[in-house]
């Protein structure tokens, strides 16, 4: 299977070379992407030591800020309500051991 996979990759690569006029158009918007991925990884790591409420509220605030919400009142209000709601659903209703 590994050999087959390698063969496919090489074939694809060769084919791309041949019609190198049409390069694959791959562009990443690093400026938003990298912070988002970092933030999600941080959240995944922080849930265990920090616990649900602090890490989730922090995550919501920073994520919404990153995505362009700039009003502090809204940020605080939405993340507080959101965290409370999620806490109610997951921890109280579904009894997840967070």
């Amino acid at each position: 299977m590994a050999i087959l996979g390698l063969a496919l990759i090489i074939r694809d690569h060769l084919r791309l070379r041949r019609n190198s006029g049409e390069r694959l158009d791959i562009s990443f918007r690093w400026s938003t992407l990298v912070p988002v991925i970092l933030l999600i990884s941080l959240y995944a790591l922080a849930l265990e030591p920090l616990g649900f409420i602090p890490s989730t509220s922090m995550f919501l605030i920073t994520a919404m800020f990153l995505f362009g919400l700039r009003s502090w009142k809204q940020l605080l209000f939405i993340s507080a309500c959101g965290t409370a709601f999620l806490y109610a659903v997951f921890v109280i209703f579904l009894q997840v051991q967070l």
């Binding site: 299977m1 938003t32 991925i37 999600i40 990884s41 790591l45 849930l47 994520a63 995505f67 997840v96």
Partner: protein
């Protein structure tokens, strides 16, 4: 007959009905917000069904399934952005109709067509699943191997624009599934000496990572630049029976196309919608209307999209092989409930089939009701800014993957898989081959090993039974057909 009614009694339970309504609402929201799909919704909510009884959990998930497939047409009609790829064909006629000031009519057409398609396919599921399931009882490991191989090949050849990328995706999926202990010999593979890797990548985090987190990541790039479009107010419009009677053949054909395409593993609503649309256009009395707000066009797309729901459940319930990406997630949900999808499942719990039938019918009627009378609220769903919505979606993904096994390791796994999936998506891969490779990989492997052990290491067992030869030839025919179609399409463009 008693089988037919036994499920009905289960469905009448108020909590089941409540969860069904809830599911349809959640499904409509997920389907309607561009960037979130029914698959994302089902993947995110599957872990939450862990503590529910089977009936409520499936009422909820199938409600999301039906509602989500329908609701993709709402933004397609109102803002010309399909809520999910399956509804792209609806834009062609729905949006022009909306421009003519008939948005209410377009929405009512799409929800009624969806409902008819969904109910038609649920009936097909009920009548054909037992036949296929009886056939599947004759399957040994060798035939299973052939079926799983068929699933893989179809997926690779069907989904996505590029055949080779489909195959690579499926192989990557198999490679992910190989992590952990071998199911027969117990040798640990790709664990890097890490104890947590021994049990492999679990299904739910993998699905959430590949379907939900990947989608969210690919949308983050567009967040902040979404333009707010004005949606004109529209009036609520009741379906007109005469309108449907005049296009009954187009409607019927689209339902059949949707169900059949849905039942072929790995295909799904996108292909069904385009096929039904083209077929309806070809056989229509007035094809010149298409693209300028033809009612027939909307009905064809929407009925076939929702007809894939029942169709895709056929291979899931009879063979344990998912028909599309949502059923791949439902496979995980069935396992959470302690059921192993496969030929034995229907034999042991036949009631589940009639339960699915009734739930699908009721979910479709709830959808019809909400779609007709709730259409006033759709513009508000589309107005929720993504910068607020997406952080919550991410949190739900993370909590969902954690709660499936209460494992912090799964949380890290979901991030890694999500990022991997995102990079692949950017490189032009599609997720369904990968996921189905991940699900079918273990089936292929264990049935291969069992067949070899059972036949004293004689490889001829794979081609010695007429059943498996039939399955192989079917595979070759489908793959060849899809390959030719791709060639033709690429020549045209």
């Amino acid at each position: 007959m008693s089988n037919f009614t036994s499920g009905f009694i289960q469905v009448l339970d108020p909590s089941v009905l409540l969860f069904c309504v809830l599911g349809v609402i959640v499904g409509i929201i997920f389907g309607a917000v561009p960037g979130l799909t029914a698959t994302t919704g089902v993947a995110m909510f599957t872990p939450m069904t862990f503590g529910m009884p089977m009936s409520s959990s499936f009422a909820f998930l199938l409600g999301i399934y039906c509602g989500g497939y329908y609701a993709g047409s709402i933004p397609a009609v109102l803002i010309r952005t399909p809520g999910s790829p399956g509804n792209a064909a609806t834009c062609l006629d729905g949006y022009p109709m909306c421009k003519k000031g008939q948005a209410g009519r377009a929405l009512s057409l799409s929800v009624t067509a969806s409902c008819i398609g969904g109910i038609f396919s649920a009936m097909c599921l009920f009548f054909f699943a037992p036949i296929i399931s009886n056939m599947a009882l004759k399957f040994g490991p060798a035939e299973y191997f052939a079926i799983a191989l068929m699933g893989m090949t179809c997926i690779a050849s069907v989904s996505g624009k590029d055949l080779i990328k489909g195959v690579i995706g499926a192989l990557i999926g198999i490679n992910i599934s190989m992590i952990g202990m071998d199911s027969i010999s117990g040798v640990s593979r790709f664990t890097f000496g890490h104890v947590r890797m021994m049990s492999g990548v679990s299904l739910v985090p993998a699905l959430i990572g590949l379907f939900a987190l990947t989608e969210v990541l690919s949308k983050t790039e567009k967040i902040g630049q979404d333009d707010i479009r004005n949606i004109d107010s529209f009036n609520f419009h009741l379906p007109n029976f005469k309108e449907y009677w005049s296009i009954r053949w187009a409607l019927f054909k689209s339902c059949v196309i949707g169900t059949v395409i849905g039942a072929i593993p790995g295909t799904g609503p996108t292909i069904a919608a385009w096929m039904a649309y083209n077929e309806a256009k070809r056989s229509s009395k007035n094809p010149e209307e298409y693209g300028h707000g033809s009612a027939e066009g909307i009905v064809a797309c929407e009925s076939s999209t929702n007809a894939t729901t029942g169709g895709a459940l056929i291979p899931l319930l009879t063979l344990g092989i998912p028909g599309d990406s949502v059923t791949a997630v439902l496979l995980g949900a069935l396992m959470i409930q302690g059921l192993t999808p496969g030929p034995m499942m229907l034999r042991e719990n036949f009631g589940i089939l009639s339960f699915f039938l009734w739930i699908l019918i009721i979910a479709n009627f709830i959808m019809l009701f909400l779609g007709l009378f709730g259409s006033k609220f759709f513009p508000y769903i589309l107005a929720v800014p993504s910068k607020i919505l997406f952080p919550f979606v991410i949190v739900l993904c993370m909590l969902g993957s954690f709660s499936s096994a209460n494992s912090f390791f799964d949380l890290k796994a979901v991030v890694v898989i999500g990022v991997l999936g995102y990079v692949l998506l950017k490189l032009g891969f599609t997720m369904p081959p990968l996921v189905l490779g991940f699900i079918l990989g273990p089936i292929i492997e264990s049935s291969f090993q069992r067949a070899m052990i059972g036949s004293n290491q004689n490889p001829l067992i794979f081609i010695s039974s007429p059943l498996s030869i039939g399955i192989y030839s079917f595979t070759i025919v489908i793959t060849a057909m899809m390959y030719l179609r791709q060639k033709r399409d690429s020549k045209q463009t």
